[in-house]
C-alpha cells in the first residue's frame, strides 16, 4: 500500500516538472510592457486623485510629467533580444536531468532515512487489538487504564504488582502491592513482594520498611522463602556475616528439594562463607565498612565528597572492565546525578546503553530507568 502511494506521489511530482517542459511555449509579453502597464496605472490613479481633490492641479501636472518621462525612458530601452533557441539543446539536457532527479533523489534519500516497513501505530488501535498480540507494555497500559477507572479493584493490583516488579518499575510495584494488601488483605506472598519491591527500589539495600514487610510475611507463613532470603541478606548488609550464614543454612535445611530458591541460597551461603574465611566475621559484603562509615562521619564535607567520588570512580572502573551489569550502570548513573555531575551521568548513561545494547531487554530497562531521572538517549 505504502509503495503504491509513494509511486503515485513520485509520478505526480515528476509530471509537475515534465509537463511544462513538454508543453507549448506560451510566449511572453515584452519585458517593458509590464513597466508601461504600471505607469499607465499610475496615470489613472493620478486622475482619480485629482477628481477627488487630493492633489493640487499644479502638482498633478508635475507628477504627470514625471510619469511620462519614465514611460519614454522605458520605451527607449527595449532590451528583449535573448534568443530562446540558442540554448535549446542545453535546456533539454537540464530538463531531462531535472525530471530524472525527482525519482532518483527521493527514492534514494528515502531508502536511507525512511522506515517503509513500519506501519502507523495509532494508540487506540494498539489498545484494541487482541491481548495475545499485545506487547507487555500494551497489556500494562490496558491494565493501568482499567485501574485508573476502578482503583478499588484489588485483584487488578495483585496481578499488576509482580509484572511491575519484573519490569524494574519498583516504585510502582510497591504501590501496587500496598493497594493489593489494603483491598485484598495481607498474605505472605504480597508482603514478601512488597518487601522485594522496596528493596529493589532502594538499589538492593534492605531498608527497615522492607524488613518489616518481610517479617509480616514470615508471621503469616514462617517458611516463606523470599522473605527468609532477603532477611538474611539484610544481616549481611548489617555486617552480621555469621548470623547470615546461619540463616542461609537454616533456610537450606527447610527448603524442599525442587524449590527455585535453593540455587540462590546455596550460592549466597557459599559466598558468605568465603568472605568469612577471607576477612573475618566483621566485613559486610555490600557498601563501605563500619570503620569507613565512621571515618566518613568525622570527615569534613570536602573530604567526604572526595571519598564518595573515589568510590564512584571505583564503580566506574569496575564497569569498564565488566560492562554487562545493568544494575551497576543504574547505580553509577544515579550516583553521578546525586553528586550533581550531570554530564558524567549522561556519559555513563550513553556508555551503559552502548554496552548493554540499546535494543536489548536490559538496555531498554536501563533507558527507562534513566528516563525517570531525566536522561534520554536523544540528548
Amino acid at each position: 500500500m505504502f509503495w503504491i502511494v509513494a509511486a503515485l506521489l513520485t509520478l505526480g511530482a515528476s509530471l509537475a516538472v515534465l509537463l511544462p517542459l513538454a508543453g507549448r511555449s506560451k510566449g511572453d509579453s515584452a519585458g517593458n510592457e509590464h513597466d508601461l502597464e504600471v505607469y499607465r496605472d499610475q496615470l489613472s490613479e493620478l486622475d482619480r486623485d485629482m477628481a477627488r481633490g487630493l492633489i493640487a492641479p499644479s502638482d498633478a501636472e508635475q507628477a504627470r510629467a514625471e510619469i511620462a518621462r519614465r514611460i519614454i525612458r522605458a520605451g527607449s530601452s527595449d532590451d528583449r533580444s535573448v534568443s530562446g533557441l540558442r540554448f535549446a539543446a542545453s535546456g533539454r539536457i537540464l530538463g531531462g536531468m531535472a525530471v530524472l532527479a525527482i525519482p532518483l533523489i527521493s527514492w534514494g534519500l528515502y531508502a536511507v532515512i525512511g522506515s517503509p516497513d513500519l506501519p502507523s501505530q495509532p494508540l487506540r488501535e494498539r489498545l484494541a487489538q487482541s491481548p495475545a498480540d499485545s506487547s507487555v507494555d500494551e497489556l500494562i497500559a490496558r491494565a493501568e487504564g482499567h485501574l485508573a477507572a476502578n482503583p478499588q479493584d484489588g485483584r487488578g493490583w495483585d496481578v499488576l504488582a509482580p509484572v511491575y516488579l519484573r519490569l524494574g518499575r519498583f516504585d510502582e510495584a510497591a504501590t501496587a502491592y500496598r493497594n493489593a494488601i489494603r483491598l485484598e488483605g495481607s498474605t505472605a506472598a504480597r508482603e514478601a513482594g512488597l518487601g522485594e519491591a522496596i528493596t529493589d527500589a532502594g538499589e538492593g539495600i534492605v531498608s527497615s520498611d522492607a524488613q518489616r514487610a518481610f517479617e509480616r510475611a514470615l508471621k503469616l507463613e514462617p517458611m516463606q522463602p523470599k522473605a527468609s532470603f532477603y532477611l538474611a541478606t539484610a544481616l549481611v548488609q548489617d555486617g552480621k556475616m555469621t548470623e547470615a550464614a546461619k540463616a542461609w543454612e537454616a533456610m537450606l535445611a527447610l527448603l524442599p528439594g525442587d524449590s527455585p530458591w535453593r540455587g540462590p541460597t546455596e550460592q549466597a551461603l557459599a559466598e558468605t562463607r568465603k568472605r568469612l574465611a577471607e576477612v573475618g566475621p566483621q566485613k559486610p559484603s555490600v557498601g563501605p565498612t563500619q570503620t569507613e562509615i565512621d571515618a566518613a562521619a568525622s570527615m569534613s564535607q570536602t573530604d567526604r565528597n572526595a571519598m564518595i567520588e573515589t568510590m564512584v570512580a571505583g564503580l566506574d572502573e569496575k564497569l569498564r572492565e565488566n560492562p554487562n551489569d545493568p544494575e551497576g550502570w543504574m547505580r553509577l548513573v544515579r550516583s553521578y546525578l546525586v553528586l550533581g555531575k550531570k554530564d558524567d551521568a549522561r556519559a555513563a548513561f550513553n556508555r551503559g546503553l552502548a554496552a548493554l545494547g540499546a535494543s536489548s531487554e536490559d538496555g531498554r530497562k536501563f533507558a527507562g530507568f534513566a528516563a525517570t531521572l531525566g536522561l534520554s538517549a536523544t540528548e
Binding site: 516538472v17 481633490g53 519614465r70 533580444s81 530562446g84 535549446a88 522506515s115 502507523s120 494508540l123
Partner: protein, 661 residues
C-alpha cells in the same frame, strides 16, 4: 500514513532542488520552457509539504508513539486542541510548519504571479527554491520529525505545560506567516539583483507582500506578548527577552521596508535602499528563527549539545545572509538609482522614519547579541536587560513617534512643514489637554507619565486629523465631505488606522507602566483586600481535576459598593504529572480597557495562600493597538492601487530570429 508523510517530505526536497536550479537557468538563457517549470513545481511542492504536515498532525491526533517526535511531545490524555497544536510546539514540528508556510507563499507567487515578467517570476521562484531546499535539507538531516521508535512506547512524555494553551494555536503560525512572508520580499530583491534591473512592477509587488508579512508579524508579536502576560503569571507584557527581540527586529526592519516601499512605488526613489532593507528584514527573520530554534540564546552551549544542528544553522545563515549581501555589493552599483527629492517632503519624512527604525533595530540587535559575543570570547555571562533597551530604544522611539503625525500631512516632492504644523494644531491642543488632565486629575502621576499620555493622544489625534483633512474638512459641506470620506483610497484608511494603533499601544504601555498598582499578601478564605478601588474577597482553594493535570483553584469574588458580588475571578496553580511541572494560571478580570490580575503563590504552612494582585489600567490597549494595526494592514492590502495591471499576452509570440545577438 506516517511514512507517506515522510516520503512526501523527501519528495518536496527533491522538487525544491529542481525549483532552485531549472527556472534560474531558464531565465539566464531565455528558455521559456525551463522558466515555466517553476510554477507547477512550486505548487506541487506546497501540496507535498502540506501532505507531510497533515501526516504528522495525524500522528499527533492518533497518539502514534512510534513517531519519536510524538512520543517526546504528546500524551494520550491531552485535550484534542493541544494534540493538534503540539505538532508545532517543538523544534522539528515547528520547522516543518516553517517550510509549509514557505512553500505556501511560493505557490502563491506561482499562482498570482502570472502577470509578472517571465524572467522575474522564474528568478523569484528559484530563490524561494533555494531557501526551501536549505530548510528541507536541514529538517531531513538534523531535525526529522518522522524519526521512528521501535518498539513504540505506550505513553508519551507530554507537551511542556506552558505551551498547553490556546496561544500555541495562534502565536507561532502568525509569527511564521510574518517571518516567512518576508522571504518573498527577499526573493524579489535577490531576483532583481540577479537580473540587474528593478522593474516598476517590482515596487508594486514588494509592497503587498511586505504588508501581508508585516500584518501577520504584528499579530504574532502582539499575541505572543499577551500570552506571556497571562500565562507566565508575572503580569508583564514585554521582557526584552532575547526570544522576543528576535521577533521584534524583523518587525522594526519590516516597518521600515513598508515605508520605503511607498517611496519607491510612488517616486521611483530609494530603490537600492528598499532592496537592501528587503534583504536585511528577511535576514533578521532567519536570524530570529534560528536564534530561537537552535537554543543559542538561552546558552551558547546549545551548540555543543547538538553540534550538527548548530553548525547547519550557521551554514544556512552565512549562505543566505552573506550570499545575498555579497550579491548586493556586486550588483547594487549597476542598478539605476531613483530620483532626487527635497528633505522636507513626504519622501524625506519616510527616510527619517527609516533612519530611526533601522537604528532602533540595530540597537536591539546589539543588545541581543552582545551577551552572546561576550560569552563566546571571554566566557563571562552578562545580561543586557530592560534598562539598556528602555534607554536606547526608548530615546529613539520618542522623537520618531513625535514626528509620525507630520508624515502623512506632507506633500510628495516638496512639503510645507509649517502648513503641516498648522493643520496639526488641533491634535497638539488635544494632546496638551490630555497632559493637563492627567497632571490635575490623576493621583500619583509623574511628569513623564503625563507627557507619555500626551504623546499617545498626539499620535491618535494626529492620525485622525490626517483623515479628516483628506475628507475636505472646512472646505466643503458635510455631505460632500462624507462622500469624499467614503471615496478615499483604502491605503489612506490603512495609514490612519496603523498610526492610530501605534497611539493606542503607547497609551496602554504608558498607562500600565505609570499607573499600575500591586499588592502581595497572604490571604485566608473569607478575607478581603482592596486595590485601587476594587474590593476582592478570597473564597478559598478548591481542588480540581483536569484531563491531564490537577489544580488548586483559588476563587475570588469582586465586591460592589454595597458588598454584593459583581463578578468572580478564578486563579489556579496547576500540576502536570507527566512532566512533573507546575504552572500558574492567572485570574484576570477585564473592566473597560483595564484588568485586575491575580496570581497565586505558595501556600503557607498554616493554610493561607500568597496572593499577588495587580491593577493594570488600560493594559488591553497595548494589544488592541496591535489588533488595530493588523486591521489597518488588511485594509491597505485591499487597496486597488496594489494590484499590478497585467499586460495582455500576445496570442502568438513573435518568433525570435536565431542568433541575432
Amino acid at each position: 500514513m506516517v511514512e507517506t508523510g515522510h516520503f512526501a517530505l523527501v519528495l518536496a526536497f527533491a522538487l525544491a532542488l529542481v525549483q532552485s536550479l531549472v527556472p534560474l537557468f531558464g531565465a539566464r538563457t531565455g528558455n521559456e520552457r525551463l522558466m515555466a517549470v517553476g510554477g507547477p513545481v512550486a505548487v506541487t511542492g506546497f501540496a507535498l509539504t502540506a501532505l507531510s504536515f497533515a501526516a504528522l498532525t495525524m500522528a499527533y491526533v492518533q497518539s502514534d508513539f512510534s513517531v519519536a517526535n510524538v512520543w517526546e511531545n504528546s500524551h494520550s490524555l491531552k485535550p484534542m486542541l493541544f494534540k493538534i497544536t503540539g505538532t508545532w510546539g517543538n523544534h522539528e514540528g515547528s520547522m516543518l510548519l516553517w517550510v509549509l508556510i514557505l512553500t505556501f507563499f511560493g505557490a502563491l507567487v506561482a499562482v498570482f504571479g502570472t502577470n509578472l515578467p517571465n524572467t522575474l517570476r522564474a528568478n523569484v521562484l528559484a530563490v524561494q527554491g533555494w531557501i526551501g531546499a536549505a530548510f528541507f535539507l536541514f529538517i531531513l538531516a538534523t531535525s526529522n520529525p518522522f524519526a521512528r521508535l521501535v518498539p513504540a512506547p505506550i505513553e508519551g512524555r507530554d507537551l511542556n505545560p506552558i505551551l498547553q494553551d490556546i496561544g500555541l494555536a495562534i502565536h507561532p503560525p502568525l509569527l511564521y506567516l510574518g517571518y516567512v512572508g518576508f522571504s518573498v520580499c527577499f526573493s524579489f530583491a535577490v531576483a532583481a539583483l540577479i537580473e540587474g534591473k528593478i522593474d516598476a512592477a517590482w515596487a508594486r509587488w514588494v509592497r503587498p507582500w511586505t504588508l501581508a508579512a508585516w500584518l501577520f508579524l504584528t499579530g504574532g508579536i502582539a499575541m505572543g506578548s499577551y500570552w506571556a502576560y497571562y500565562e507566565l503569571g508575572w503580569g508583564g507584557f514585554w521582557f526584552w527577552d532575547p526570544v522576543e527581540n528576535a521577533s521584534f527586529m524583523p518587525w522594526l526592519a519590516g516597518t521600515a521596508l513598508l515605508h520605503s516601499a511607498i517611496v519607491m512605488e510612488k517616486r521611483s526613489a530609494l530603490k537600492i535602499w528598499t532592496l537592501l532593507l528587503a534583504i536585511l528584514t528577511f535576514s533578521l527573520s532567519l536570524l530570529g528563527t534560528f536564534l530561537v530554534r537552535s537554543g543559542v540564546l538561552t546558552s551558547v552551549h546549545a551548540f555543543a549539545t547538538d553540534p550538527s544542528r548548530g553548525v547547519f544553522i550557521l551554514c544556512i545563515l552565512m549562505l543566505f545572509i552573506g550570499g545575498s549581501l555579497a550579491l548586493f555589493a556586486l550588483r547594487a552599483g549597476s542598478l539605476t538609482t531613483g530620483g532626487m527629492f527635497q528633505p522636507v517632503s513626504r519622501e524625506g519624512a519616510l527616510v527619517l522614519n527609516n533612519l530611526f527604525l533601522t537604528t532602533a533595530a540595530a540597537t536591539v540587535l546589539i543588545g541581543t547579541l552582545y551577551p552572546l559575543v561576550i560569552e563566546a570570547i571571554t566566557g563571562d555571562k552578562i545580561s543586557v536587560g530592560a534598562p539598556f533597551f528602555n534607554l536606547t530604544f526608548g530615546s529613539l522611539m520618542v522623537p520618531l513617534l513625535m514626528l509620525v503625525p507630520f508624515g502623512p500631512l506632507l506633500a510628495w516632492k516638496r512639503g510645507d512643514i509649517f502648513g503641516a504644523a498648522q493643520r496639526l494644531m488641533f491634535a497638539f491642543g488635544g494632546a496638551l489637554l490630555a497632559v493637563l488632565v492627567t497632571m490635575l486629575a490623576v493621583e500619583g502621576e509623574t511628569v513623564f507619565a503625563a507627557l507619555g499620555i500626551g504623546l499617545a493622544f498626539w499620535l491618535i489625534l494626529g492620525a485622525l486629523t490626517d483623515i479628516v483633512l483628506k475628507s475636505g474638512f472646512g472646505n466643503v459641506s458635510a455631505r460632500v465631505m462624507l462622500s469624499r470620506f467614503v471615496g478615499l483610497p483604502r491605503s489612506v484608511f490603512g495609514t490612519t488606522l496603523a498610526h492610530l494603533g501605534v497611539g493606542l499601544s503607547v497609551l496602554g504601555i504608558v498607562g500600565v507602566v505609570s499607573f499600575e498598582t500591586e499588592k502581595i499578601l497572604t490571604m485566608r478564605a473569607g478575607e478581603t483586600v482592596e486595590l485601587s478601588g476594587h474590593t476582592v474577597r478570597f473564597e478559598g482553594l478548591h481542588p480540581f481535576q483536569g484531563p491531564n493535570y490537577t489544580e488548586d483553584q483559588g476563587r475570588f469574588v469582586l465586591l460592589g459598593a454595597s458588598g454584593n458580588s459583581t463578578g468572580e475571578i478564578i486563579s489556579a496553580k496547576r500540576f502536570y504529572p507527566a512532566r512533573r511541572m507546575p504552572t500558574t494560571e492567572a485570574g484576570i478580570k477585564t473592566m473597560g480597557f483595564s484588568q485586575l490580575y491575580i496570581s497565586l503563590g505558595d501556600e503557607t504552612t498554616d493554610g493561607a495562600v500568597v496572593v499577588r494582585m495587580w491593577w493594570k489600567p488600560m493594559v488591553t490597549l497595548i494589544w488592541l493597538g496591535g489588533l488595530v494595526m493588523m486591521i489597518a494592514g488588511a485594509i491597505s492590502l485591499t487597496d486597488r492601487r496594489l494590484r499590478v495591471g497585467a499586460p495582455a499576452r500576445r496570442a502568438k509570440p513573435a518568433r525570435p530570429s536565431p542568433a541575432t545577438s
